[in-house]
């Protein structure tokens, strides 16, 4: 298992957001997290990346307990990429500097090598001409693709994607989804929180439905999205269909 969450509990004050959640993700596997807004998808991803501290349970990365307080969180985060809904590019840096910051400062790579690698990636995703631009000169879809590249140049073991298309105009969603589909083709292990049920169906090996702080139901996309066992999953999907997002 690349990622293994066991009985994870996370509270904010009196609100219990994750309540004994368990989820495993195997090598090269792509797991789609679905669930109502506020069901804890972002919180789970932040806990896995150690941006938030869990209140109970264990999270393991390649078998190592990363929630042990003796583990250095910086070294764990170096192995996990996280891409945010709101891109969170650094506005005072060019696209190229955004991408090379971690390789140079964290992984101590030579600046020229890091720049070459960044340019290769930008070329691949069709943004080579934007290398010297500042983020505010890019469209949302372009910014999000840069954010994904920024996470990928660190060669993470695991890539976490938090509703990476939710802030995008509909016509820009496709370019980001294509990029994620390509990553799956290369065997990247991914957990993606998403509202795009159609995309989850296409790209995910497994869909996990979060409800009341737990994974209520999980399985192949066709089963969970097409013929769910749990009544609450059915309710959720019915609401999504009503909203015209399936």
């Amino acid at each position: 298992m690349v990622l293994s969450c066991t009985d994870v509990r996370k509270t904010f004050g009196s609100a219990v957001v994750l309540d004994g959640l368990s989820l495993d993700v195997g090598e090269h596997e792509v797991v789609a997290l679905i669930g109502a807004s506020g069901s804890g998808k972002s919180t789970l991803l932040r806990c896995v990346n150690l941006l938030a501290e869990i209140d109970d349970g264990v999270i393991r990365l390649d078998g190592e307990d990363i929630t042990d307080p003796r583990v250095d969180p910086d070294s764990v985060r170096q192995k996990i990429g996280l891409v945010f809904q709101s891109y969170n590019l650094f506005p005072h840096m060019t696209v190229l500097d955004n991408i090379t910051l971690a390789p140079v400062r964290v992984h101590k790579r030579a600046a020229t090598a890091a720049r070459e690698q960044a340019m290769e990636w930008l070329d691949r995703v069709g943004l080579a001409d934007k290398a010297g631009s500042y983020p505010d000169k890019l469209s949302g879809g372009q910014q999000q693709r840069v954010a994904i590249v920024r996470a990928l140049v660190n060669s993470p073991r695991l890539l976490l994607l938090d509703e990476v298309t939710s802030a995008l105009d509909p016509e820009l969603v496709g370019e980001v989804l294509t990029m994620i589909r390509d990553l799956k083709g290369e065997g990247m292990t991914m957990v993606l929180a998403t509202h795009e049920m159609g995309f989850a169906r296409q790209v995910a090996d497994r869909v996990a439905f979060l409800d009341q702080g737990r994974v209520l139901e999980q399985g192949p996309p066709a089963q969970v999205l097409g013929d769910p066992v749990e009544p609450r999953t059915r309710q959720f999907l019915a609401r999504i269909i009503e909203a015209g997002r399936l």
Binding site: Q78, F90, P91, L101
Partner: protein, 282 residues
């Protein structure tokens, strides 16, 4: 975008002509009102009953020329103090601001001291700090006590450091937490996130108020004359005492304004640029 072949429509030509007429009218109006106000002020001051005496005791050209060299020599001290104090106060302010952002119980004493410092020195008048430092510390009769000039400079640095720390802190707090989250998620340590992500954005945002405080500092550097060193103001004071005429003060004042002009200009330029960037342009 207009193509080269685009012919401006009659409506648009009308608009352009109207805007041009309005622009000419406002320039004329501004010139006229400036002339009126200037003339009125001139008549009011030079026509005042005491004008001749004021001119003799404040604007005596001979005394101005006589004392200019001494005052300029004093000003050189102010310039050196300004550069040193401004840099030191900026560094101190940045350090204190960063210390105040540290979280966790281990840093409680550091945080508490930094907070106490900014609270007390923003409330304490600079003159009192200068007196305490420049006369109090030598009073201890310790070995190697620095000169009064250095102590006076230290008083300015300590006082302005407290103001600048608050400006830096406001800048740091204005950077959205998601920026730190993004930096940490890439594996950057807290220090690296501060250095490469938070501080560059924070400093850019508060550059106008920082420069503004530096202009205020450059003026207050003159207060060290109270402690004794012969700066421009002290030199002027000696001149006033010897000639029984206030002209040396006016000379010093004019020199201070001239000294401040470049910095004020830079401040305005930076502020304008920041405002434009805020508005969405570049």
């Amino acid at each position: 975008m207009t193509t080269p072949l685009h012919t401006v429509s009659a409506v648009q030509q009308d608009r352009i002509a109207f805007r041009r007429r309005s622009a000419v009218r406002s320039v004329l109006l501004a010139a006229f009102s400036t002339a009126v106000v200037g003339t009125l002020l001139g008549v009011l001051v030079t026509g005042a009953p005491g004008w001749d005496r004021v001119r003799q005791s404040f604007f005596d050209p001979r005394i101005a020329v006589d004392w200019l060299p001494e005052i300029l020599q004093g000003l050189w001290l102010n310039v050196r103090m300004l550069v040193f104090c401004a840099l030191a106060a900026l560094a101190l302010g940045l350090l204190i601001a960063v210390l105040r952002t540290l979280r966790g119980p281990v840093f409680f004493p550091v945080r508490a001291l930094a907070t106490l410092y900014t609270y007390s020195f923003r409330g304490l008048p600079l003159i009192i700090v200068i007196y305490l430092m420049a006369f109090g510390i030598p009073g201890l009769r310790l070995q190697g006590t620095p000169s009064v000039t250095v102590l006076g400079g230290a008083a300015i640095v300590i006082t302005y450091g407290a103001y600048l720390a608050e400006v830096f802190r406001a800048g740091i707090e204005s950077v959205h937490p998601s920026q730190v989250a993004a930096a940490r998620s890439l594996g950057l340590s807290y220090r690296q996130s501060m250095r490469f992500v938070v501080l560059p954005q924070a400093v850019r945002r508060v550059a106008p108020p920082l420069l503004n405080d530096t202009v205020a500092l450059q003026k207050d550097v003159g207060l060290i004359s109270l402690a004794g060193p012969i700066d421009a103001i002290r030199a002027a004071q000696i001149g006033v005492a010897q000639t029984a005429n206030f002209t040396p003060y006016v000379v010093a004042g004019v020199l201070f304004v001239l000294l401040a002009l470049p910095l004020i200009g830079i401040t305005d330029w930076v502020t304008l640029r920041a405002a434009r960037r805020q508005a969405g342009g570049e």
